[in-house]
């Protein structure tokens, strides 16, 4: 069990992916995360209130049930370890309640389009007046300043505007998206370190701060060397497919089985001769055209065909074992189910077995770390919309029954989605 952040309270106004990942990860080490939504505007990951057959929201067994917003798969996957309350922030009385929560919180985190918090009176200046030592983290697409500060994005937008797509694609073809909204989890993971660094300084000097994180700027950081190269005299192709700058051959090769593939990467001449031996193609070892890494890079296309010839009739898992035993970098291209069953990830306790009260059993993504002197907590399954209203407003803020019911009846504190 971890009690690292037992006394830490985080007010979480984030939605979709990046921000929810941040608070999920910190939540694994004991922080109290209070996720604030409103009944009229839930986290869009909860999906529609009445899903149509056209909805792209994912539900357990494809069945939305009676309260689909509580079991939408993307929602429950990244909102573990959180309390869920509902509050209408555009309402004066709703604001009074969040101001009370701000007073007793350590971190305020949001990822709206930049000007939304100004409109709600929840910008840093306003929040700081209520709690001067708060750590305020603003995660936005373009940052809190500049003419484009109100532009919106999802991870797939950021791959484009942050330049990642310009280096992602098959050799000399066109740019492609990752289909995995790659920048979102990156921003989520990165914000953990920034927010906790700010908290550490606060512990030392009592000083809060305003963190202005632009998701686009972090994405551009991931292609820094390409930004520099574009200003140099030497320009090399940016779209390299699966090949490597100094290893050859390197690629993804077809195996036996439906859409089964293996990755192989040859780091030096010795590994090349090992591979040739395993493939029973010893005649290639001394072939002049394939002698050095540079030669193999030049002839990668023919070499790929030779390797595919060999891999395409073999099982990817058997190939991985065979090649790894010979000390060659190789691995299966795992499908969704295979990642969940992966023996290495399971041995690192990456997946948690969760039994969600409404959504049932599933395997939960946890954290990418192993610490020697403490462990992460077990996953606390995602809560229903407004599940913790009573706990927070009555037990923590001390509202009496009259006031609580009044706010509930006037939809300031929400019940079901409006």
């Amino acid at each position: 069990m971890s009690n690292l952040f037992d006394s830490l309270r985080i007010l979480d106004l984030t939605q979709v992916a990046a921000g929810p990942y941040t608070t999920m990860l910190i939540g694994y080490f004991g922080a109290e995360v209070i996720k604030i939504e409103s009944s009229s505007r839930m986290d869009i990951n909860r999906g529609p209130v009445k899903p149509s057959p056209a909805t792209h929201t994912v539900y357990p067994n494809n069945s939305p049930g009676t309260t689909p917003w509580n079991i939408a798969a993307h929602h429950i996957q990244r909102n573990v370890n959180k309390l869920c309350i509902t509050l209408d922030l555009s309402n004066k009385e709703g604001k009074e309640q969040i101001y009370e929560l701000i007073k007793i919180s350590d971190v305020f985190i949001e990822n709206f389009r930049a000007s939304v918090v100004d409109r709600l009176g929840l910008d840093y200046e306003s929040v700081k007046k209520i709690n001067p030592s708060i750590v305020y983290a603003k995660i936005s697409s373009q940052g809190n300043t500049g003419k484009e500060k109100n532009y919106g994005s999802l991870g797939s937008t950021l791959e484009q505007t942050g330049g990642l797509a310009s280096v992602t694609g098959y050799l000399n073809e066109k740019p492609l998206l990752t289909n995995e909204t790659f920048p979102d989890p990156m921003v989520g993971l990165f914000s953990v370190g920034i927010i906790l660094s700010a908290l550490r300084r606060r512990q030392m000097y009592g000083k809060g701060c305003f963190i202005d994180m632009s998701q686009r700027e972090l994405t551009v950081n991931l292609i820094g060397e390409h930004i520099l190269e574009s200003q140099s005299d030497v320009k090399t192709p940016k779209l390299l497919g699966n090949s490597h700058k100094i290893y050859a051959p390197q690629g993804v090769y077809k195996c036996k089985g439906d859409d089964d593939w293996i990755t192989i990467s040859i780091g030096n001449d010795n590994e090349w001769s090992i591979l040739c031996n395993i493939m029973n193609k010893t005649n290639l070892i001394d072939k002049n055209e394939y002698k050095s890494t540079f030669d193999r890079y030049k002839h990668q296309k023919e070499i790929d065909e030779i390797i595919t010839d060999w891999t395409s009739s073999r099982s990817k898992y058997k190939l991985m074992t065979l090649l790894q035993q010979a000390n060659i970098s190789a691995g299966v291209v795992a499908k969704g189910r295979e990642v969940i069953d992966d023996p290495q990830l399971n041995s690192l306790q990456f997946w948690d077995n969760v039994n969600h009260p409404n959504a049932g059993k599933y395997k939960q993504v946890t954290t990418p770390w192993v610490f020697s002197n403490f462990t992460r907590n077990n996953t606390s399954p995602a809560h229903n919309l407004g599940e913790d209203n009573q706990k927070i407003f009555q037990n923590i803020l001390g509202l009496d029954n009259n006031k609580y019911n009044y706010l509930l009846n006037n939809n300031v504190i929400g019940g079901d989605p409006l």
């Binding site: 990942y21 067994n61 484009e148 310009s166 290495q344 993504v365």
Partner: protein, 381 residues
């Protein structure tokens, strides 16, 4: 925020070097320890500044190592190990991405409160712990690779070194978490590990969700990017837009007949019928400038995007207005990706190999200059 910390950076890959760069951006003092005369592996990896490749012209190295000091030390010699222990005794964090087996014992002897950070492909224990990985292999095993690329082709990796930067980010946040454990106790044995497979399995979101909840694995799909006059765009009309967005969009298109077209009335429908919609938009898009489309569509509350090439980013008004880039010797470096209390930290240029030898060995560790010269002659420094 971390300016009370000294970091020894033994890394040789993008991941560890990016970790220590991020620590430096928060004020940590980073000493990069490199092999005498060879240096960090990335010093020999492109892109390069000049056509004739020489050690100090790797742009990858220059980008990853801003804000650090560099010393040379052969930690595999006996005298090198002694110096290394002196170094460890005054540091708070050691970062290793080369699976150095000696490290743990050194740290235990010289500095038990040290945070020892290990970056690997698959982790230190478990059935793959002896496996040989790398960015492509890690992306494959983590489930990221399978769904990327086109259905008619092989799976495709996330480009550049992004998969390795990801692991660097993971280590960075892991270190800051473990600082709280160190600061609140003196337990010792502060080992923090991250790996390529864990980090990238966290980055695959949709694949494992679909597989578990929908009961089917995700598959690769056709690209949704549309070709504009000078590059690629996405329209961003299918999610995250406002009620009046569609109407405004049809007016920009000058196609009012589409406003009430039943195929495109809601975001859900526009997502479902995306290929039909793209078919209609194709010609209009082809004649427009990619960045103009982006701005026009963002201004009506879409999440439109355009594929920015590095050259486009260097001219992005938004990035320039926020003073994102940092000018070093006439080159614009992507800056630190956060602003705290209106200040964006900047980092000094990357060190030459062994640039800070005298400063660190003599001034910080108290060695005599003559001793350092002797060590230099024997190849230890």
């Amino acid at each position: 925020m971390l300016d009370d910390l000294r970091v020894i950076d033994l890394s040789n890959h993008v991941s560890g070097s990016y970790t220590s760069k991020l620590l430096a951006s928060l004020g940590a003092h980073v000493i990069k320890v490199e092999k005498p005369s060879i240096g960090d592996r990335s010093r020999n990896i492109g892109p390069f500044l000049f056509k004739s490749m020489y050690k100090e012209s790797s742009l990858l190295f220059r980008y990853l190592n801003t804000g650090k000091n560099s010393i040379t030390l052969d930690i595999h010699t006996i005298s090198g190990q002694k110096i290394f222990q002196d170094l460890i005794s005054i540091a708070d964090i050691v970062i290793d991405d080369t699976n150095n087996e000696l490290l743990e014992s050194h740290v235990k002897v010289s500095n038990p409160s040290m945070i020892l950070c290990s970056i690997s492909d698959f982790g230190k224990s478990g059935p793959y712990s002896e496996f040989k990985g790398g960015d492509l292999i890690n992306q494959g095993l983590s489930g990221l690779l399978q769904t990327m690329g086109l259905p008619s082709k092989e799976p495709l990796k996330v480009g550049g070194n992004a998969g390795e930067y990801a692991v660097g980010i993971s280590m960075f946040s892991g270190i800051v978490i473990s600082l709280f454990s160190r600061d609140s106790s003196s337990l010792g044995n502060n080992l923090v590990e991250t790996s390529g497979i864990q980090t990238l399995a966290l980055a695959q979101i949709h694949n494992s969700i679909n597989s578990q909840f929908r009961g089917q694995d995700n598959i690769r799909r056709e690209s949704s990017l549309l070709k504009a006059k000078n590059g690629w765009v996405s329209m961003g009309l299918a999610i995250g837009s406002r009620d009046d967005t569609w109407q405004n969009f049809c007016q920009i298109l000058e196609m009012p007949e589409l406003i009430n077209d039943e195929r495109f009335l809601s975001m859900e429908l526009r997502r479902k019928n995306e290929s039909e919609l793209n078919q209609i938009l194709k010609e209009w898009v082809l004649n427009q400038d990619k960045e103009e489309i982006y701005h026009k569509l963002q201004n009506i509350s879409t999440i439109a995007g355009y594929v920015a090439e590095p050259e486009d980013l260097l001219q992005s008004n938004q990035l320039l207005e926020r003073e994102y880039f940092n000018n070093q010797e006439g080159m614009l470096y992507p800056g630190i990706p956060f602003v705290i209390d209106d200040l964006r930290p900047t980092l000094d240029k990357a060190p030459l190999l062994g640039e800070n030898n005298i400063d660190i060995y003599c001034n910080l560790l108290g060695y005599k200059l003559s001793d350092v010269l002797l060590l230099h002659q024997s190849g230890v420094v």
